[in-house]
Each structure stands twice: as structure tokens, then as C-alpha cells.
Symmetry: C2
DNA sequence: CGAACTGTTGAATAAGGTCAAACCAGGTGG
DNA sequence: CCACCTGGTTTGACCTTATTCAACAGTTCG
């Protein structure tokens, strides 16, 4: 599997000035929060909307940094690769999340659209100028980076020390929490990724992921609506498993 | 194992204004780089020196953020814990590294001094004011956060997808690289942590770490001077193993 | 209806973990 | 000076968990 940028060809780009921010679905949770009205207006001034089709690459490692912006719709997977193709997904990005690293010259990993993705894209030179001129924006980015770092470290704990069952429970709770923040709680959790991608996020094989799904289902902790829709039936039980407080979780 | 802050009692604190920055050993690599002379002077104005004895806790999870500063001497381990005591070390901090998260209200993990540690400490309210007033400082922190995030994701790749042998090789190369940046390259690599702590960093058991040390030694890639001093004899070979380009690394 | 996916389940295997014993260096004190 | 202790480390034997390989089932889509 070669992964050069632009090689997965299905990229379909639309570039246009974005809608009014007030109508934006992720206005309250994205970088934009904590900006004053005039600041927000300046940010909108440099933004362009860009759409990626499912399966298309947003960026690849060693490319010059270019894609920096906010996910408005869809899901992205960010991942790292080893020489022989082993893959580790380092994060899924949902609406409201920030993509790319404005302080980096070149990308250190890969990003691919899992679904149709709509981005509110900030061209690098412009956003770097705004960062320099708008302390609020820089501060917000620093806060976001801190949260990302903490999440990454939480995931190091998962990958280094949790069992397969604990990993899957943690994953489902994370998705539920992210959905809650986006304001789409209540209903079943939508899984825009397949078993193999969950496996690459949890450091497991896809078969193990499947087996653990079955176990959680049989234990009554979750219901599997369709393969890509999960309902949490026992939040406390799932939480206990995720925290590692359950002994015979075999 | 209870881990409340201040419970590991051997903490011995000295608080005093730091020396001239020009004489500081880590002046060129710490946050301080990229500050103008007057900015540096302001930062020095709020700094105090603090010393931690080996084994003492710098901070614990859920504590209000307090310790924020630069490591001047010694080594710190930062880690996360599960309810049953399973531990994952999320990073070792060496001279020049930045400790703590100035944007966080409460700590999300633990930090403990492995050796005698000397810190150039910035009291939280003061550093937060300086961050607001000095864009250069904020920008530098953002860059550092980005590097930390990338390293954390690189470690997710290691924990999720690398074999025991690949993990140890990667670890040794990381230590060598960090020593190089600090300007203490050339000689053997100093390991301020024991096998059990290496294991908790690599997501392995201490026995597996020990076995992999022996294998790398027998393969002629490293020499073990004392248990805590390693010389890399074959940098290319070690790099190939770390990258996963070696097949029969069993 | 059949092809192509994606997901599930089963059996065999391997990598690493666990438990336990031996080892080794550095210190202590007779 | 040397026996003895002690903590960290190494090594061995066995066991467990998750992986691998393989077959099978369920959906979706032409």
C-alpha cells in the first residue's frame, strides 16, 4: 500500500467562502469559540469551504503543511504508518474538531476522510498571520493542543496497559462523550468507521474487536442495532470495565 | 498504592530566585529560546528555583495545577494510572523540557522525580499573565505543545503496533536523540530509570524488557556498560529495527 | 441471483506475561 | 578482608491473551 498524497484520487474539491458563522453547526465548539465578533469576522474572511469525498487523503506525512481548519461535517481518521504497512490511528476527528497543526512546517502523519467531509479551511499563511495578531486565537489553539495532548496520553494508557475488553469499552464511551459534546446525544452511537479501523485505533486485530463487541453485547452492556450503530444499555457497567475496575472481565 | 500529593514525603524544597539566564545550562533549548532580552528578563523576574529529591512527587492527578516550569537538572517521569495500579509512563522529562500545562486548571496525571531535580518554576498566575502579554512566549508554548503531541502520537504507534524488540530499539534511539539535543552526545547513554520504569513506558513487563536488552546485546547492536549505561554500537541496525524494516527480529 | 464486502466465529499458534529461582554489584559490618 | 545482605536484574518454565489463518454468514448492489 503506497500512500503518496493525491494518490487516492477520489478527492473532489469545492472552494468557496463559507456561510455566515452564526448559522454554522459547530460555531459553539470549534476554534471559533472565544473569539470576539470582529475577530470572528476576520477569521471568516480568510476561510474557504472545501469538501473531501470518502476515502480521499487530506494530507500525507512529509508533505508541506497545507490543510488547517475546522471539521464542519463528516469524520476523518488521522494515522501513522510503519514501513511494512502496520497502521496506528491516532485520532478520529468529528465536526467541531480542529485539523492540522499550524505551527508545523511538514506533516508528521496521514489523514483520510472516512465519510464525505466538509472543512472550514484556513490557508496557512493567513492563519499564521492571524495567530500572530489575535492572542485570543493563539490562546484557544494552545488550549486545544493541551486537550489533544491529554487525550493522546490517555490513549497511551489504553494501548500500553488495558485489555482488549477495556479498550473497546473506553472507545465506545469516548464516542458517546464526543457525540454528547456535539449535541447529538440520546440516540444510538454512530460508528463511521469499520471494525478494521477500530482495531487500528485500539492496537488490536479486527477479529479481536469483533469478539469483544460480541462479549459486550452478550453481557448486556450494549445493543448492536446495525453493525454501525451501537446503543449503550449499561453506562455504569461499561464505565467500570473501561476504568479497569472489573476483575473477571474475561 | 495510594498516590496523594505530598504523600511521598521526601520532598525537599528550596525556593530562590534563579541565576543569570546567560549562565543557565538549558538556556538554548528551553522555553526561553525565542524570547527577546527584555522578555527573558521579565520571565526571569517571576521564576523561582525549586529542588525535588529522588522519588518525590511533583504533582498528582486532580490536583489544581501548580507546577509549571523548566527542568534545569535531573529526570522526571510523567505517568497515568488505572484503578488497580497499572501504570503507563507518558513521558520522561530531561533538562530543557517544559513541565506542566499552563492552560489547565487541574492536573490529569502524575509526575515524580527519578533523580534529584532542579526546576526553574513559574508560579501559575504570573506565567498566565506573561503568556497573555508576551505573544512570543505563547507562540513558543504552542510549538512545544505541537511537538509533544507528535511525540505522543509516535508513541501510540509504538504501543499499538510495534513488537517488544522494536519498542526497545525506538526507546534507546529516542534517549540518544534527546541527549544529542542537550549536547551530551558521544558517550554512552545514561538511563536514569530502572527496567520496570522502561517497561511502564513501553507497555511491556520488566522481564520482557530485560530479555530484549539481552537480545540487542547478543546481536551486537548495543553494549551494556553498567546496567544503567548503554552504548549504541550499530546505529543503522538499531534504526532498522525501530522502524520495523527487519523481518526475523525474533 | 450471485459477486463482493464486511463482519463473525472457530481452531491453532505465537508473543508476551506471570511466577519463581538464580545472579550480581554495591554496600555494611564483623 | 571477606561474609552477608539487599535491590535491581537476568533467566527459565509455564500460562494467558490476543493474533493468525480459515471458514462461514449477512448485506448490499449490480
Amino acid at each position: 500500500m503506497k500512500l503518496v498524497a493525491g494518490d487516492s484520487c477520489a478527492r473532489h474539491e469545492t472552494a468557496a467562502a463559507p456561510q455566515e458563522c452564526a448559522q454554522c453547526a459547530v460555531r459553539e465548539i470549534a476554534v471559533c469559540t472565544a473569539l470576539s465578533a470582529p475577530e470572528l469576522e476576520r477569521l471568516r474572511g480568510i476561510a474557504v469551504t472545501k469538501v473531501y469525498e470518502p476515502g480521499s487523503m487530506l494530507y500525507a506525512a512529509d508533505e508541506p503543511a497545507a490543510v488547517v481548519g475546522t471539521v464542519v461535517q463528516g469524520t476523518i481518521k488521522c494515522f501513522k504508518l510503519l514501513a511494512d504497512g502496520r497502521q496506528q490511528i491516532v485520532g478520529f476527528l468529528f465536526p467541531g474538531d480542529f485539523v492540522g497543526a499550524p505551527t508545523q512546517e511538514t506533516m508528521r502523519g496521514f489523514a483520510e476522510a472516512l465519510t464525505r467531509v466538509e472543512l472550514c479551511l484556513f490557508p496557512l499563511p493567513s492563519i499564521q498571520r492571524l495567530i500572530r495578531e489575535m492572542p485570543n486565537l493563539q490562546r484557544r489553539l494552545l488550549t486545544l493542543a493541551g486537550e489533544d495532548l491529554n487525550l493522546a496520553q490517555e490513549w497511551m494508557l489504553l494501548l500500553g496497559r488495558k485489555t482488549a475488553q477495556e479498550r473497546l469499552a473506553t472507545f465506545l464511551l469516548l464516542l458517546a462523550e464526543k457525540a454528547r459534546v456535539r449535541g447529538v446525544a440520546g440516540g444510538p452511537i454512530d460508528l463511521p468507521m469499520n471494525r478494521s479501523e477500530i482495531a487500528d485505533y485500539l492496537g488490536l486485530s479486527l477479529e479481536t474487536v469483533s469478539r469483544q463487541f460480541t462479549k459486550l453485547k452478550n453481557a448486556g452492556h450494549i445493543r448492536i442495532e446495525h453493525n454501525n450503530e451501537i446503543t449503550i444499555r449499561n453506562l455504569d457497567g461499561l464505565t467500570e470495565i473501561a476504568e479497569g475496575s472489573v476483575q473477571g472481565a474475561a
